[in-house]
Amino acid sequence: MGRVKEPILWALFSGGGMVAALVLPALVFLLWIAAPLGWVTLPSYGELVELVRHPISRLSIFALASLSFYHWAHRFRYTLYDGLQLYHLNELIAVLTYGSATLLTLAAGFLLVAVV
């Protein structure tokens, strides 16, 4: 994998780390802690679906999901590459990790456009 692409991969990685760190804890807190404990009342399921259907929500969820996938891909690539010292498999690892992130991104896009 040519190092020329590193700035782009790193931008996806750091962007993913940042949005995941900012947004996911808030979502987990709201949906899985605050709501079950009755600290906040969530809108009904129908209203939530309505909210998700808004173009801005779709776009934000898409960005969150896709950047998080690339964040994982970059981390995991280096975990395999440096951690297990699989230098000879550099290309294969890169294709598998970023490839998975790309497939997952496409899946997220499909779900958000066609299914929700």
Partner: protein, 247 residues
């Protein structure tokens, strides 16, 4: 009865042995002694053949770095009593080829350091009659932290990537590149970027962060590398959008 403590030192004398070996010494235990004092005791009283580097004994020259019980430390700043009851294992810094006993070969670092042009670069030097380059305290604060580096190489010994990636410039050299990039008198940032953003220069770093943990001068090389990655990324996107602009 005077107390003593056991020191296990890694020895390597290339004319006598092909592999490093361990040698054990008993030295008097003095609570105010540093590990370096114990080594000096060995050299003066027990075994004059032991070789290691040191100079200032006050954490300034950066030459006495060694692995003590597996951690990179300045031996002139590491109390013996921090390692009681012993034995204390002393080895050369990891990541560098050993020349003799506790002495590592730093040529790789020095070559990489010179590649980042660690000096103030100017496109044009104004004549002396123009006076000195003035700098505000804020401008000084921008780079001062990075200027505290004493080239002790503890960060290189702590970095798991440096040993694995021959092209990686490494923590201290990148922090020093930043020291000059952030200096308001310097104009060499674009030139340094060419060296650093290339190949494994900075990208091999996976932000392990050990370099900043072991640094005796709080230089925070890990932070410097992350800032540099950000700068290189911005630079890259700029050159994609404005390919004709000079990088």
């Amino acid at each position: 009865m005077a107390e003593s403590i056991t020191i296990e030192v890694q020895r390597y004398r290339p004319e006598e042995q092909s592999q490093p070996s361990w040698q054990t010494y008993e030295v008097p235990f003095q609570p105010e002694w540093m590990v370096l004092d114990a080594l000096n005791y060995i050299k003066d009283n027990l075994d004059g053949t032991l070789s290691y580097r040191w100079s200032c004994r006050m954490g300034v020259c950066g030459s006495c770095g060694m692995m003590v019980n597996g951690e990179p430390v300045l031996t002139c700043a590491a109390y013996l009593k921090g390692f009681t009851p012993g034995p204390i294992r002393v080895e050369p810094l990891t990541g560098f080829p050993v020349i003799r006993d506790l002495i590592g070969d730093m040529s790789d670092f020095l070559e990489k350091l010179s590649r980042v042009s660690p000096w103030i670069m100017r496109e044009e030097e104004p004549p002396l009659s123009k006076g000195e380059h003035l700098q505000t305290p804020e401008q000084l604060a921008e780079y001062k932290g990075y200027s505290m580096c004493i080239n002790c190489m503890l960060c290189y010994a702590a970095c798991p990537i440096y040993e694995l990636e021959p092209g990686f410039i490494g923590p201290a050299a990148i922090a020093l590149a930043q020291r000059y990039n952030l200096d308001s008198r310097d104009q060499g940032a674009a030139e340094r970027m060419k060296t650093l953003s290339d190949a494994e220069g900075i990208w091999a770093c996976t932000f392990v962060g050990e370099c900043s943990t072991v640094c005796p001068k709080n230089v925070d090389p890990a932070g410097a590398i992350q800032r540099y990655k950000l700068a290189a990324t911005v630079d890259h996107f700029k050159s994609m959008v404005l390919p004709w602009s000079e990088r």
